[in-house]
């Protein structure tokens, strides 16, 4: 398995407030890492730093490209980071409105990403958009509708397909199932599990929901007050948490 990302002592502070405190980890191809913790623990800040959307205060994020070369995301230019986010990476926001262009059609939302990496052939863009809509269970007949006309679950699936069209290796997801009804959430989780396996996608997923983490991830990182208190295999953290805070978190989950 190839290494995808190496993070060394990444910190981010807002004034005196340390949102991420010397976070280090490595991620390999096809791995799904869930970052869990309560609100304010720094998980979303960490995700945004990793994706190059927020400049960290200190530390290093090395992205290992397929050709073997490395990019330090912290030092890279804005243009390099933006290109990565449009091609080899993807970012799925909790609120689909933040990840979609609401003023254009669903098809255009998908096509835009292809055009951003240089695709100019209308027929190809259109057929890719159709394929990816089908892949996320959106009827092709809805291709020319605006995302405003979509339900919350459909918007989220559209946002995911928009990201997948460029065949990314790594996706960042911020509470992708947050705010959805449980039945809609189950469908989305099922879809994401299939995509991760079939596309050998690596995912860094922020969630406060341990059930979502259990279903989707193979690895987990528990954060509290900006620090990683424990990381390991998802089943190990859920069944044999070592640290006081992870034990508290796991034992606080309501059983249905």
């Amino acid at each position: 398995m190839k290494k995808l990302i190496s993070v060394n002592a990444l910190s981010k502070s807002y004034g005196n407030n340390l949102a991420c405190d010397e976070v280090s980890f490595e991620l390999y191809e096809g791995e799904v890492l869930a970052i869990v913790g309560e609100s304010g623990s720094g998980k979303t800040t960490l995700l945004r730093c990793l994706a190059g959307l927020l400049p960290p205060s200190a530390g290093e994020i090395l992205y290992h490209k397929t050709d073997g070369s490395q990019i330090d995301i912290v030092k890279a230019s804005e243009a390099v980071r933006r290109h990565l986010l449009r091609s080899e990476w993807g970012f799925v926001h909790q609120d689909a409105r933040d990840g979609l262009r609401m003023g254009v059609s669903a098809g255009a939302n998908i096509g835009e990403r292809l055009m951003a990496i240089g695709d100019r052939h209308y027929g190809h863009i259109r057929s890719s958009a159709e394929q990816w809509l089908e892949r996320v269970d959106i009827p092709v007949s809805r291709i020319d509708d605006s995302p405003y006309a979509y339900s919350g679950g459909m918007r989220q699936r559209l946002q995911i397909s928009r990201n997948l069209v460029t065949a990314p290796r790594l996706m960042f997801m911020d509470e992708p199932t947050g705010g959805l009804d449980v039945s809609v959430q189950a469908r989305l989780l099922d879809l994401m599990r299939g995509l991760v396996r079939d596309l050998n996608l690596a995912v860094i997923l922020v969630t406060h929901d341990l059930a979502v983490a259990r279903l989707l991830s193979s690895r987990m990182m528990v954060m509290q007050n900006g620090q990683v208190v424990e990381q390991g295999l998802t089943d190990q953290i859920l069944e044999d948490p070592q640290q006081p805070y992870s034990q508290l978190l796991v034992s606080s989950v309501l059983q249905v």
């Binding site: 398995m1 490595e26 390999y28 791995e31 189950a186 469908r187 989780l189 099922d190 599990r193 396996r197 279903l215 193979s218 690895r219 990381q231 390991g232 295999l233 089943d235 190990q236 069944e239 044999d240 070592q242 640290q243 006081p244 034990q247 508290l248 034992s251």
Partner: protein, 235 residues
């Protein structure tokens, strides 16, 4: 004969930080060695840690100290303190684990639950599904249920789906945690044939068995965890 699994001076204590730091010792210097192709039953009184031992081997429980070497890709691999991606690779190709209960996933059909371990190894969907259907038939799940999520199945049916899943990919080492505990005599016999097939393929079986007669039929040796501690239990 190669060694499939060797456990050296294994210690495992649970520390319950939110219960006043209560310390629960489970293993205090356990040693064991299992050769490739052996079928070994873990025995001992209830609550002594039979299932815990399987979870330690699988990496679900984190050992306090010691060594658990598993034969993986032709070389011993120490599960303790291995990186997550290494343990995941071990689970994909070397160790299979049949748990006591099926963990249901919403919306995923019985045949896809069973096909999943094969899909993770890269087997094509059609082939994995066809293999899954064969296995579901062998554990006596009616065909009309194959495309339904097992959440609504009876306890015995769920357990048989779980077993079919555990035997879907042919693992060199199989951990079985009371695979037949909730099954009737006929279905137990069906599961026994799956275990016998795995043995015939050369798989090493390490299991906890509820029924003494099964233990005797399946296994050539027993490891009594109450007797394998080298030092006294910590109180």
């Amino acid at each position: 004969m190669t060694t499939a699994l060797s456990i050296h001076n294994l210690h495992k204590h649970f520390t319950l930080h939110n219960q006043g730091g209560t310390n629960i010792p489970v293993f205090n210097g356990l040693n064991a060695e299992i050769k490739t192709g052996e079928s070994v039953a873990i025995v001992g009184p209830s609550g002594q840690g039979k299932s815990s031992l399987l979870k330690l081997i699988y990496g679900t429980y984190q050992a306090t100290s010691g060594m658990i070497n598993v034969l993986h890709n032709g070389a011993p691999f120490n599960v303790i303190h291995a990186a997550p991606h290494e343990i995941l690779a071990l689970r994909r190709s070397t160790i299979g684990y049949v748990t006591q209960f099926l963990r249901c996933i919403p919306r995923v059909s019985a045949e896809d639950v069973v096909a999943e371990p094969l899909r993770e190894r890269g087997t094509a969907l059609a082939e994995a599904r066809s293999h899954a259907r064969d296995l579901l038939a062998r554990v006596n799940i009616p065909e009309r249920l194959w495309h339904l999520p097992p959440m609504t199945f009876s306890g015995g049916e769920q357990q048989r789906v779980n077993i079919a899943r555990g035997f879907a990919a042919h693992f060199p080492i199989l951990l079985l945690d009371e695979p037949t505990a909730s099954l009737d005599a006929e279905n137990r016999a069906r599961v026994m044939t799956l275990i016998e097939d795995a043995k015939a393929r050369g798989s090493t079986i390490i299991g906890v068995f509820h029924h003494a007669d099964e233990r005797h039929n399946v296994c050539n040796r027993e490891i009594d965890i109450a007797l394998t501690h080298t030092s006294e239990k910590v109180v």
